[in-house]
């Protein structure tokens, strides 16, 4: 189970980072969201995986580690605030600059866009 979990975390990280490296703000927002899932799962896993062991006194024999859970709980909420802020910033940037590229200007027409695009892009 741990191996599968770690694989998922790694895959989410990779997907998140790839999207974060894209040039349009919405892709970056999506990428950051994926990345924050990965980060939350990663942090949560530092308390080790346990089945049927909710950190509520009297509910089970043993308890999972409550500290990473508390950390991740706040991280989820802060992550939402961050995503919201970034997405509104992207909107504002688009409104003020007229495009949704992360540099604020569209890339040189003769540069990037003249190349043929890669497979999954």
């Amino acid at each position: 189970m741990e191996g599968m979990y770690a694989f998922c975390v790694g895959l989410l990280t990779a997907c998140g980072i790839f999207l974060t490296l894209r040039g349009r703000s919405f892709s970056v927002v999506i990428g950051l969201t994926l990345l924050s899932y990965a980060v939350n799962l990663f942090l949560f896993a530092s308390g080790r995986l346990k089945l049927n062991a909710a950190a509520v006194l009297g509910q089970s024999e043993q308890y999972s580690d409550p500290l990473p859970q508390a950390l991740v709980l706040t991280a989820i909420v802060i992550g939402f605030a961050m995503t919201a802020f970034v997405v509104i910033l992207a909107m504002r940037a688009r409104a003020d600059l007229g495009n949704d590229h992360v540099d604020g200007v569209l890339p040189d027409q003769e540069g990037e866009s003249s190349h043929k695009s890669g497979g999954n892009n």
Binding site: E2, G3, M4, Y5, F7, V9, G10, L11, L12, T13, A14, C15, I17, L21, R22, G23, R24, F26, V29, I30, T33, L34, Y37, N40, L41, F42, F44, A45, G47, R48, L49, L51, A54, A55, V56, L57, S64, D65, P66, Q69, L73, T74, I76, V77, A81, A84, I88, A90, M91, R94, A95, D96, D100, D103, E112, H115, S117, G118, G119, N120
Partner: protein
């Protein structure tokens, strides 16, 4: 002596006085400004008697003793001498500036800068700690920058100030490096320790580096060759500044530094070579250039360079008597040069020009000032009965006793005499060219005597020239002896301050200098012609050229590394991060640890596969934005399921509700963003990014796996044990949030509130791009809100609120709490917005989300502060059990109040963001009529 600790700070306090008092009258401002320096001078002088007896005053307040930081002052003979110069001449300059500055100049600002400089200078000479000394040293550079650029509307003032700051600032950095190495070599940053370990320092292998770096600092500050060029350009400063900084104090800081570290660093071959040769070169060059200056202040500036070179040369010689002569000349030069600068300022002020080709025959117009200037010039030339003569005589004596150059040692006295010849010639020029030599030519004003009190500082200084020159032992004997002893860190050798030493070589040298100088001045026209053959080279232009080329190079470098592409920055930052992570990961022997793994079940496999497919689909379809959003929400759903599976019900609930809110937010945002992402990544970039992403993913996955398969040594046992007894709740996660780590949560909801308010500001007055149709050109549907949804959601609202109340109340003991309840409430309200539209809600419910956020944070803070009232630390929670009929036994905890604050903030923040965004989509949507 405790007063020593605050004494240097008296002038700092005084910087405020001129700023406040300038609005009354200039005279009042001048006198009030002078009060604190005068008091400081008085207090320092009150210790003079003890210091003459050989006493040393020290005070220290430790700050960070481990790294040698302290606030430490010392008052010994050398510090006393410099303090008297700084404060005494400072007071005269304050009086002088009162008349020198015109009504247009802001006198308050000028005085404030001047006093700031005085404070910095005093700090340098009184410091008993290396780092502290350096700090004040830099402060003198900064305050002198402000003073030189006081007339900032003039180009040369700005350029001169910048040049002075660059040169002395660069020297200051070298000095810092030198002092740090010195302090580390000795193992102490205390000046006393440094002075006492001279032999150790000189034997150390770091010695050459230390000497070179510290001397770089000293030479740049004291305008020694080849760093002398900034001083003539700093003459763009108002003349009181020149008189103060560029004759008496700041340029002497470098000299002071050499004198201060004399016991620790001097008296080696290296020291002799660098210091005396630099001094000699500066002495000759300054004297030579001074002769050819047409600007009165330019002449004085170059003469100052020359005299500083003379003192440096003396300090380099390495004999005790030479050090005494150096100290003596510091005093004398400060006195006569300050008076000459002031005289030059008077001439400039009353005749409108400083050009010696225009200034002629001023004797007729200002005989009194002329007399004063002539006496001071005579002292500069080294005429007997003046103070300049005495120290110059000592200088000549010392050059004769110098044998360090072996058989070439006779060069030094000969060159010294040559320098003396030039000194006489330029002094003569100052006297004859300005006050005699025909009639003034084209002066802007008719020259006249200055106001009475403008002359007073000059009179005092000139009187001192004569008094010291005639009664040297009585006037400065004790001070000189104390300062020389402090410089040598030992008893000063015996010397005689008499005017007449009989017929001897030094006297002959003086006579040769006087006669030679007069002859040289007489035949100056030939020299001037000769000098005119040289191409003109302006150090200012050369300096500007260097600065410009540096700027160009820096810009070129920046344009290579920083090309404005955010993608590139992120790529490099991530690349660096992963390299650093991976390199330490390689030290780990095995990936898997000892901890047994949980067996895999079919359910988990299904979820994991679904998660992987959705994540990959998100990447694959990220250019089709709405589809990417749907697959993204699948990922989020599975993440919350994972939390539920692995015993984190609180997280699962939070993730689930955040998921809903996030997706709604992103859908709303999509409306204002382009509907499609164009293809624009080159295949190379895709491969590059994919490789980096895959590599990072692999590294993170490995860490995660390695972490999970190793046993856990948790600190959470404390929380588990104290959750019920200390926090009064059985849901440990919630107790951690609202009690154990309540302070973190308070910070977090504050961040949430700030983010929401920031978003609110970003949304307001946004210029919107809104499409009137979808990506394929279909216009938006004109349908009103679907009736079924409206009806159901309306009836669901009370139920949803009830659920959230239940989740909130049970949060302390069961999964739930303020965060989750807040999110559920938000979702319930958003549902109403979706079903009915913003306008419908607005007319029915009056909710001010900003106030909600504010009151949430307020309640949380107050509930924390409440524990103070009962004598507990901030955010200690209190709880007890009560009994009510019907309901039964129940618990009340102050943590509940805190959680209420969390709840309100979460609802307020979420709704502030979504409702405002949603409002834009409905109220300002463009309508496209469908064409039939």
């Amino acid at each position: 002596m405790n007063s020593l600790t605050w004494l240097p700070f008296l002038p700092l306090l005084g910087t405020l006085i001129p700023l406040i008092s300038a609005r009354y009258s200039r005279t009042a401002c001048a006198f009030l400004t002078a009060a604190l320096p005068a008091l400081t001078l008085f207090l320092i002088l009150s210790h003079a008697g003890d210091i003459f007896q050989g006493e040393l005053f020290q005070s220290a307040i430790p700050w960070i003793p481990a790294i040698g930081l302290e606030l430490a002052f010392r008052l010994d003979g050398l510090a006393l001498l410099f303090s008297i110069l700084i404060l005494g001449i400072g007071l005269l300059v304050i009086l002088y500036a009162r008349y020198y500055l015109s009504a247009k100049d802001s006198i308050g600002k000028f005085y404030a800068y001047l006093i700031l400089f005085m404070f910095a200078m005093l700090g340098v000479v009184l410091s008993d700690n290396l780092i502290q000394l350096w700090f004040f040293w830099e402060l003198t550079s900064i305050s002198s920058f402000l003073l030189i650029s006081f007339w900032g509307h003039k180009t040369e003032a700005r350029k001169g100030a910048r040049m002075a700051l660059t040169v002395t600032g660069a020297g200051g950095l070298a000095l810092l490096a030198g002092l740090l190495i010195l302090g580390n070599t000795v193992g102490s940053f205390s000046l006393q320790d440094i002075l006492d370990s001279g032999a150790f320092i000189k034997a150390s292998s770091n010695y050459p580096v230390i000497v070179v770096l510290i001397l770089l600092g000293a030479f740049t500050k004291s305008a020694q060759f080849p760093f002398h060029f900034w001083l003539p350009n700093a003459m763009a400063a108002p003349t009181p500044v020149s008189a103060y900084l560029h004759s008496a104090t700041m340029v002497k800081a470098g000299i002071f530094l050499m004198a201060r570290f004399y016991p620790a660093l001097a008296d080696t071959d290296l020291w002799f070579l660098i210091v005396s040769l630099t001094g000699l070169a500066t002495f000759l060059m300054g004297a030579y250039i001074a002769l050819f200056q047409h600007d009165l202040k330019g002449l004085l500036a170059n003469s100052t360079i020359s005299h500083l070179g003379l003192i440096t040369l003396l300090l380099g010689m390495g004999t005790d008597l030479a050090a005494v002569a150096a100290i003596f000349h510091i005093i004398n030069h400060a006195i006569f040069k300050a008076s000459l600068f002031m005289a030059a300022g008077i001439i400039d002020h009353e005749s409108g020009s400083r050009d010696m080709r225009q200034l002629n025959g001023l004797w007729k117009y200002m005989p009194y000032t002329a007399t004063l200037a002539m006496v001071a010039s005579a002292s500069m030339a080294g005429v007997p009965l003046m103070n300049g003569f005495l120290s110059k005589e000592m200088f000549f004596t010392e050059t004769l006793h110098q044998a360090s150059l072996g058989s070439l040692s006779w060069f030094i006295p000969v060159l010294a005499t040559l320098g003396g010849v030039f000194a006489v010639a330029y002094s003569m020029r100052f006297i004859h060219d300005v006050f005699f030599n025909g009639e003034p030519i084209n002066l802007p004003k008719t020259p006249h005597e200055p106001p009475r009190y403008m002359r007073v500082p000059v009179e005092i200084l000139v009187a001192l020239c004569l008094l010291v020159g005639i009664f040297p032992g009585f006037m400065v004997g004790d001070l000189l002896f104390a300062a020389a002893s402090a410089t040598l860190n030992a008893q000063a050798p015996s010397y005689s301050l008499a005017i007449w030493h009989g017929f001897n070589f030094p006297l002959l040298m003086s006579v040769i200098a006087l006669i030679g100088g007069l002859l040289m001045y007489h035949n100056r026209s030939h020299l001037f012609k000769f000098q005119a053959q040289f191409p003109k080279n302006d150090p200012k232009l050369a300096f500007e050229g260097v600065i410009q080329s540096l700027t160009v190079k820096a810009q070129r470098f920046i344009s290579i590394t920083e090309n404005g592409s955010l993608q590139r920055y992120i790529f490099f930052a991530l690349g660096l991060a992963v390299v650093m992570t991976a390199s330490s990961l390689m030290k780990l022997n095995a990936t898997a640890g000892q901890r047994p793994e949980i067996p895999v079940d079919a359910m988990s496999i299904t979820a994991a596969v679904l998660l992987c497919i959705s994540a990959l689909a998100t990447v694959l379809w990220h250019r089709r934005r709405i589809i990417a959003l749907i697959t993204l929400s699948v990922v989020g759903l599975i993440v919350s399921l994972a939390f539920a599976k692995f015993s984190a019900p609180d997280l699962a609930l939070t993730q689930l509700s955040v998921e809903v809110v996030t997706v709604i937010l992103l859908i709303l945002a999509l409306f204002f963003l382009p509907q499609k992402t164009p293809k624009e990544s080159s295949p190379r970039r895709v491969v590059r990014d994919l490789s980096l992403a895959a590599f990072i993913g692999g590294v993170i996955g490995t860490i995660c796996y390695a972490l999970m398969t190793r046993p856990l040594d948790t600190i959470s046992t404390f929380f588990t044990e104290n959750s019920k007894t200390g926090g009064g709740g059985t849901n440990i996660v919630n107790v951690i949030l609202v009690d154990f780590r309540g302070f973190d949560t308070l910070g977090e909801i504050t961040v949430l509130g700030i983010a929401a308010l920031g978003i609110y500001k970003l949304i307001s007055r946004m210029r919107l791009y809104m499409p009137s149709s979808d990506g394929d050109g279909r216009p938006w549907s004109e349908d009103r809100y679907p009736i079924m949804l409206s009806v159901i959601s309306q009836s669901l609202l009370p139920l949803a609120l009830l659920v959230s109340a239940y989740i909130f109340l049970r949060g302390h003991n069961m999964p739930g709490g303020g965060f989750i309840a807040g999110l559920i409430t938000s979702v319930a309200i958003i549902q109403q917005y979706v079903a009915h539209g913003v306008q419908w809600i607005k007319t029915r419910v009056k909710l001010d989300y900003q106030i909600m956020i504010g009151s949430g944070i307020g309640i949380a803070t107050l509930s924390g502060l409440g524990s103070w009232a009962f004598g507990y630390t901030f955010l200690s929670s209190w709880f007890d059990y009560f009994y009510l009929p019907v309901i039964g036994k129940f618990e009340l905890a102050s943590a509940m109040m805190f959680d209420l604050g969390v709840f309100l903030t979460v609802v307020g923040a979420t709704m502030l963001i979504l409702a405002n965004l949603g409002q834009l989509t409905t109220s300002e949507r463009p309508v496209q009529k469908e064409h039939d």
